[in-house]
């Protein structure tokens, strides 16, 4: 599948491989890290951001594409709804059917609450399903939750909310055990010891995995459990606006059936937003590793209802997205490929950065190599990229490692005739994760009463940069915490009349702040044409 030019260039990678094998490239000093970030990380590009003119975060900057959705009108502006005609009446409404939503549902159900999951795509068609690399937890001798804590804080540049970090690392071993007891199959040695690896920025090998189907394994198991418990799910049913009661407390949501295009009213005592990330907004024109429905809907709905954003200006660009073949452009090359020993190499066959820097630093270094140093490899679509020398993995760990430890990756490339065991692959950073979101406390609560947030839609846990494996952990830890709290708390909540007044107020506020717009949000689904306009 590689072009003749690329095959020529691969020879340079092969030529330097023997001398690179077994030699660690030096890590950057804290100063060097700082410099490369400021100069090359997209988060530091001022033109990619805008200051919000209204709402709880008035005056703070967020990515342009997100600002456009936050400063937009509701889908319900000209829709007449009778809020007294309730279609679903439950204790806990969970919006989003990924890992955070499913784990929240299980815990809320355990509290005896009547639960409804409303989800935009199918249950489980979510970022969680795609997570490959693994999930962190400090459960091995030689490791400790305190060491985990320090890694999380350092990864997040010490901006993380401490109480959230301590909840995260404390609940981690128990979360793995919970999954194990539900029957998730983790990679283990014959004596039961978990097979664990490093991730960028970890001080201990604490990444647990299920081959490179870690997220899929977790999602299929907890989804199955949601079905076993008989929890009600409505699919292809996106929430488009939260409902509040007259005291401004969360009390349900308006759901939109994507197929019949009808609205339904879901009334609930407590609401959990678990709508995941924002990759499909393609910040600064980047490709994305995210699933089709990752359009920041939860941030938009929560913000309109008065919840506060945290770290919304920090985005994770995964250093290794697929740059070639074009059919997989933007898809993820899991960090596990680097944890297993593959290293980034430029057009001359030289390694230019240590392969396990934190993601932001690694991504910035790759952008520098392509943009400034002009040492990238040009692909047929015009995108520049660097090599990731995957054959090193088999040289380090023995033949067969790639098929055994990263079968999903191997298969993805093989489908397009690239054998990553023998040939290096081409990578470039891809928009991967929303570091920030709606601010929560350790129970997943926002400052809007009865409104909880969990998973990628929440902010604070990871500060302004997340480490690999802490997101699968966070969605389960805070999914379960939110579910449990919202489930128990729902029993004390008295159902009141529903209202959309906050949406009207938001529209008024747009006017008052001089924001003139026809934009409508939440986005729900992206619209792609793959360049059809230019082909006509």
């Amino acid at each position: 599948m590689y072009t003749a030019e690329m095959r020529e260039l691969i020879k340079k990678v092969e030529a330097t491989r023997p001398e690179r094998l077994g030699h660690d490239y030096s890590r950057m000093t804290p100063d060097e890290r700082d410099q490369v970030l400021k100069k090359y990380h997209p988060d530091y590009r001022a033109s990619g951001f805008r200051t919000l003119s209204l709402g709880a975060n008035e005056g703070s900057k967020v990515p342009l594409e997100l600002a456009d959705l936050l400063e937009a009108k509701s889908r319900l502006e000209n829709v007449n709804l009778d809020l007294t005609k309730v279609d679903y009446d439950v204790d806990v409404l969970i919006i989003g059917g990924g890992g955070a939503g499913a784990s929240a549902a299980l815990e809320a159900h355990k509290q005896g609450a009547k639960v409804l999951i409303s989800t935009k795509l199918r249950m489980g068609d979510a970022n969680t399903m795609m997570a490959e690399g693994g999930i962190q937890a400090a459960d091995k001798p030689g490791d400790s939750p305190a060491k985990h804590y320090l890694d999380v804080m350092g990864g997040g540049h010490f901006t993380n909310k401490k109480e959230l970090v301590s909840a995260l690392v404390k609940d981690a071993p128990g979360t793995i055990k919970w999954l194990n007891e539900l029957g998730a199959m983790f990679d283990k040695e014959a004596d039961g010891t978990m097979v664990t690896t490093h991730g960028g920025g970890t001080s201990r090998k604490r990444m647990h995995a299920a081959a490179d189907y870690s997220g899929a394994e977790i999602m299929r198991v907890i989804r199955d459990e949601v079905h076993n418990q008989g929890i009600e799910i409505v699919e292809f049913s996106a929430a488009v606006e939260l409902l509040l009661d007259k005291d401004g407390k969360a009390a349900g949501a308006v759901l939109y059936n994507l197929e019949t295009e009808e609205y339904a009213i879901a009334r609930a005592k407590t609401v959990i937003l678990a709508t995941g990330g924002a990759g499909r907004l393609h910040y600064q024109g980047f490709p994305t590793s995210n699933h089709y429905g990752a359009t920041a809907d939860g941030l938009v709905m929560g913000y309109r209802a008065g919840a506060e954003l945290a770290f919304a200006d920090t985005i994770q660009y995964h250093p290794t997205g697929v740059a070639f073949p074009p059919q997989n452009f933007g898809a993820l090359v899991t960090e596990k490929v680097r944890s297993l020993g593959a290293t980034p190499v430029n057009i001359d066959g030289n390694q230019f950065v240590f392969h396990l820097e934190t993601r932001d630093v690694e991504a910035a270094a790759i952008i520098r190599e392509c943009a400034d140093k002009n040492k990238g490899i040009e692909t047929p679509t015009g995108v520049k990229a660097v090599w990731l020398d995957t054959p090193l993995i088999e040289l380090i760990h023995g033949e067969g490692t790639i098929e055994k430890r990263i079968p999903g990756m191997f298969r993805m490339y093989k489908k397009f005739d690239i054998d990553m065991r023998k040939e290096p692959i081409l990578v470039y950073p891809t928009l991967h994760y929303q570091n920030g979101g709606l601010l929560i406390n350790e129970h997943g609560q926002t400052k809007v009463e009865n409104l909880y947030v969990a998973g990628e839609c929440a902010g604070g846990v990871h500060g302004n940069n997340r480490l690999m494996g802490n997101s699968l952990l966070d969605i389960l830890v805070f999914g379960r915490r939110a579910g449990s709290h919202a489930g128990a708390h729902s029993k004390t909540v008295e159902g009141k009349a529903l209202s959309l007044d906050h949406v009207k107020k938001y529209h008024q506020s747009l006017k008052n702040h001089g924001v003139k717009t026809d934009r409508i949000s939440p986005m729900l689904l992206p619209h792609y044409t793959h360049g059809r306009e230019n082909d006509k």
Partner: protein, 226 residues
């Protein structure tokens, strides 16, 4: 028109010219569809995009994942966004990891006629017939490993004359294996016990009380496991 190489494809019988470099999923969007169903991860992990196709002049019906397959000239396409499949509900804590359990919940596995249609259709190249065989014999661990890369797209079930929902059988085998057959991780049990006894609370509390400067110093001096 650009100089891209184009091919003709047929979506639900209607012809559209699309660039030959696109995946089936992208080609549908290029043709002007906005996908609502049949699209999830776009990376071959969620099984949402099972698609049935036939190439003009060829009689055989083929199946694939739309996000992982390139278009071909003369491709007649239709999607399989929801295929009804049977899932039994159970309490995992009350099951035993045996052939009996499999047979009680999914008795249809014994009706397999060995036609191998399931295996031929699997976009993950799993040996589906074989993992059903393992399930019949109660070799659950083998069934679990053989079915591990299943994305639950449902293609196998759509072709099975015996009405088996293979992916649910595989999932049950995996859960039983993960819970009952795989060896216990003693270090995990021990750490969870320590956590419950509050043994790590103090060390974390200490870190919680440190300033950013102190944390930074500790962080930069931490030793890193080889």
């Amino acid at each position: 028109m650009s100089d891209k190489e184009m091919v003709d494809i047929y979506i639900l019988g209607k012809k559209y010219p699309v660039p030959a470099s696109l995946t089936i999923m992208d080609s549908m969007e290029y043709a002007g569809y906005q996908l609502v169903r049949g699209c999830g991860c776009r990376s071959g992990f969620c099984g949402a995009c099972a698609t049935v196709y036939r190439i003009k002049g060829d009689r055989e019906l083929k199946v694939c994942l739309a996000c992982q397959t390139k278009v071909q000239d003369g491709m007649y396409l239709t999607q399989l966004p929801f295929f009804p499949g049977n899932k039994e509900t159970y309490d995992i804590n009350e099951l035993e990891p045996t052939a009996d359990t499999m047979g009680r919940l999914y008795p249809e596995i014994y009706k397999c006629i060995g036609c191998n249609s399931c295996t031929k259709g699997c976009p993950q190249e799993l040996n589906v017939m074989r993992y059903i065989g393992y399930a019949q014999r109660g070799e659950l661990e083998k069934c679990a490993h053989e079915s591990f890369d299943c994305v639950m797209c449902g293609i196998c079930a759509s072709r099975c004359p015996a009405g088996i929902t293979h992916y649910q059988v595989g999932l049950l085998a995996r859960r039983l294996t993960g819970k009952y057959i795989a060896p216990e991780s003693k270090h995990l049990t021990e750490r969870v016990n320590e956590m419950e006894a509050g043994q790590h609370d103090e060390s974390i509390e200490k870190l919680n009380n440190k300033s950013v400067e102190e944390l930074t110093e500790l962080y930069n001096a931490r030793d890193i496991e080889k």
